[in-house]
Amino acid sequence: MLNYIIKRLLMLIPVLVGVSLLAFSIIHLIPGDPARIILGERATEASILALQEKLGLNQPLYIQFLTFLKNILKGDLGTSIITNEKVSYELLTSFAATLELTFVAMIIAIVVGIAAGTIAAIRQYSIFDNISMIGALVGVSMPIFWLGLLMIWAFAYKLGWFPASGRLDVALNVPRITHILLIDSLLNGNFQAFKNTLWHLAMPSLALATIPMAIIARMTRSSMLEVMKQDYIRTARAKGLPEKIIIFKHAIKNAFLPVITVIGLQVGLLLGGAVMTETVFSYPGLGRRLYIAIMARDYPVVQGGILLISVCFVLVNLIVDLTYSFIDPRIKLD
């Protein structure tokens, strides 16, 4: 087990170097002089030279890359060209918002997805099965930015149930400690802010949850159907166990492995999917920050954001792989 973890961690090195090479390349692959593009056409020669100096663009390429790597390892991602804030600080605070959103979305997706998939499998070919599987098929094909807009139209504009944007009402500001508002509001004992945060999270998290929910439901259903055909389920039935125990004690546990794979993959994809959802709901998370940076040609933030999301994605995938062996000891890692 330990050997496997070490081997996997070593295998991460070339991937991480590749990821940082791509993040580094962004600023150099854009046609033309980055400093000139960032500052726009009316910039003076002096300010261009100053920015080139500041970004280290006047040094040989390999030295620039090594400096870039060295700074990453120090946790220094440079400063934003637009806001002049430290990129690492900006990204981490907005990342906290995205983590919160992703976490709530994932809970919705897992709970609803597994429940719907399990019930659909137990009552195969019933009305519930048909409706939830059609729903899942539609969900997988759904452009979430469109779904988000429809939700805003229906629940914010027409019905007025939920706010169309933001994280928290301005009047309810809480001191930021972790920048995860659900935690911060509890740490401050401010339950009103906690409820308000959840209220703001409702629509974006539901929109973000749609696709993983659909995928998890489909996977759970097919995996449950597969397991329910196994001999040991027949044995359990033959010895007269109640159906509830068969399902909860014997079937679900074994049906879970492929579902976990899917859940893990979805966590990573959610981090990317957050770009769309956060843009639609003007939710101040990492995805929206990255989008604003791309539109404003704020390259240090773009580089840092891409780096941060990909590293998380890779780590989540690794954790998923490692989880297998804990859940299913039959799986040999090598």
Binding site: V15, L29, W146
Partner: protein, 301 residues
Amino acid sequence: MKTTKSVNINPQPVLNNTQEKVGGLWQDVIKRLKKNKIAMFGAFIIGILLFTAVFAPFLSPHDPENGILTDRQQPPSSKYLLGTDSQGRDVLSRIIHGAGISVQIGVISVGIALIVGSLMGVLAGYYGKWMDVLIMRLVDIMLAFPTILLALAIVTILGPSLKNAMIAVGIVNIPRFARIVRSSVLSVKETEYIEASKAIGCTDIQIILRHVLPNCLAPIIVQTTLTIGTAILEAAGLSFLGLGAQPPMPEWGAMLADSRGYLRQAPWSVMFPGLAIMLTVLGFNLLGDGLRDALDPRLKE
């Protein structure tokens, strides 16, 4: 590029060698596919999409790009079946003209992914050793990014336009094909007929084109169908963010971006383009799932 292209239109040699078996397989597949109502519904949606794309100029009741300003934000009516947008353009006509753009996005971006990915998969699977290690590491690095993010990064480098969005979506989908083709090649490579071809002195290229690739066709077809759906979705997303098709082009994602600010006043101009994206993607997903079941009946039960 050229070599891979010829593969798809040149499976004849295999058909001649083992005509009964291969011909029978494809007939069975089509028979099974026809029985699958859900898959046929997907094919029906795709049929409508293609028909609309080809006959757009004849089908659309109004000019898709130049609206009548006095008819701004009209709700659906007999004159404008799906209403008009903030510039007085007929939403239905724009959706009809957008069909062709979506087909183009699907074909070009998946074409890029298919050709480059298959080439990488064949090289990695057939030659193995360092070639395999090199290519699969590259694929691993590409898979280290969530697809939308990688596409965003590529468009950032290339600059926002429909062409660049298609290239970006093509590139992010390369790993799917590389992996699938590689694993099929690995399983075909060890078969006796490949050994026989080698023994009678066929060159590597002959073996790959005539024997290896045609036998990997089934998973490639399924993957292509499913990826066209995803590609249209991803490209629409890029356009929605303003990084793909630019106004006034009637691309569906760009239409959503255009109308987004008028959600309160003209919700129909947001609803219908999105519905078009969803139905199209659904069509390809349904047909893709059906093809997978038809090509490998063991998976079905």
